[in-house]
Amino acid sequence: MKEELAPGHEAPVPPDRPSAESLSAAALFRAHAPFVAAFVVRLGAPRESVDDLVQEVFLTAHRRGGFEPGAAKPTTWLAEIALRVVSSHKRTARRRRVVADEDTLDRAVSEAATPHDVAEQRDALARVQRALDCLDDERRAVFVLYELMGESCEDIAAGLGVPIGTVHSRLFAARKSFQKAHARLSAKPAMFSLLVPGGSL
């Protein structure tokens, strides 16, 4: 459909433009980079790789032709790319997920909190991160998107390109494993104080 414009006024978008409906890479990045950053962290990316992985996600998104409004939301569409990028990174980099996340935990703690709050929040982040480590990437992605990022199962299904039944089953299995792991970790609070570095936040 071509848009009629007033005579003498330059068309903002050429009618033959193939990417007229796509979001620009910069606009997409500005709107969703924090989402992607949180998502890759929750998928278990080590701190030193987060920036690189976020870049890789958006470069891949750009190479795919950018986001086109459709069934998927930008967030879940990016999540699908991020899942692939992080999974590939994990396979090739052979990172040590557990210990490598300490700095990420430090960085993720709110600066505005009191020292006591900070300690509690850091423990919370550590528990969640370690419980997430018990999940495989596919279940972990669904769990994170649903439980932490607030996406609906329908949007997750559209973004990841899987049936909604698959999302439900992955979520169900992930919840079961996560809660079990979290309960186990919560029973050992001392473990986290040992893991958390004593330095400044």
């Binding site: 500005r30 690189d52 609906s152």
Partner: protein
């Protein structure tokens, strides 16, 4: 329509600690440095087109590996990998070179200016990639690159058709990267003008739409034009253009800004 289960953090039947822990981790990152990320992305996109050119021209996989060149080299290396895949698309397809394969997208012009040195450095590094690759002096090739680009790369026995396609892709990508750099510079100037001289910015934004009809910065330019028109009192014109933009792109990240600036409704209709 599916019925989603209640989220753990909202389910008061579950342990308070579990819910509190999840709540502490919920949502987007609060401390991700978007501005720094934008600069890296700008550099990566600007370098990407040229890195793709270098890889295609050399007929080898990407060899710009991040060896001691810190962040910048990582960007170029990462983009070069993608560029190599792009090269594979060029070589392996009979279709005309897709305009979007090597094209960067919109970058905030102020950021473009800030990263111009890095982008140029990246481009320079990428341009030399073919020489580096040919010399094979630093042979280590990314695993990803070698696996993904092997389909197109024919370093030992380049077939003539591949060589022609490669050269064609190289020329196409090179021309495109040149346009990209030109557009990046244009956007940097436009962004400066938007702050200093709204009247001139509106005219320049229109000039940019005509000058780069297939560029990917058009959303940025249109947003600048609308704001500039509002600032110089051409409210009806600004709202008309914002309305047209919002009809086309209701979900654009610029949409909310357009609505706010012009006071348009959610559907782009005037207030």
């Amino acid at each position: 329509m599916s019925r989603d289960p209640i989220r753990i953090m909202d389910d008061d039947r579950l342990s308070a600690e579990l819910r509190a822990d999840l709540r502490a981790c919920a949502g987007p990152s609060q401390d991700y440095d978007v501005e720094a990320g934008m600069k890296r992305l700008a550099a990566g996109l600007a370098a990407g087109a040229i890195a793709g050119t270098a890889a295609a021209h050399a007929g080898v996989t990407s060899t710009v590996k991040a060896t001691g060149l810190s962040l910048l080299a990582k960007i170029v290396g990462g983009v070069a990998i993608v560029g190599a895949v792009g090269g594979a698309i060029y070589v392996g397809s009979d279709a005309p070179a897709p305009a979007r394969v090597a094209a960067p997208s919109a970058i905030e012009a102020s950021e473009v200016e800030a990263v111009s040195m890095r982008a140029v450095a990246s481009a320079t590094a990428a341009i030399t990639a073919s020489a580096v690759a040919s010399a094979s002096s630093e042979a280590p090739t990314s695993e990803v690159a070698s696996s993904e680009a092997s389909a197109s790369a024919a370093p030992a026995h380049p077939k003539s058709s591949h060589a022609i396609a490669s050269a064609s892709a190289s020329a196409s990508a090179s021309a495109e990267s040149s346009i990209v750099k030109e557009e990046i510079a244009f956007m940097a100037e436009l962004r400066q003008k938007a702050h200093a001289d709204p009247a001139a910015a509106a005219a320049m934004a229109d000039e940019g739409q005509a000058r780069f009809p297939h560029g990917l910065f058009w959303q940025d330019r249109e947003a600048i034009a609308v704001e500039a028109l509002m600032q110089r009192g051409q409210r009806d014109e600004a709202r008309r253009r914002a309305g047209a933009f919002l009809v086309r792109h209701p979900e654009s990240p610029f949409a909310e800004r357009m609505r706010r600036v012009t006071g348009a409704g959610a559907d782009g209709a005037p207030p």
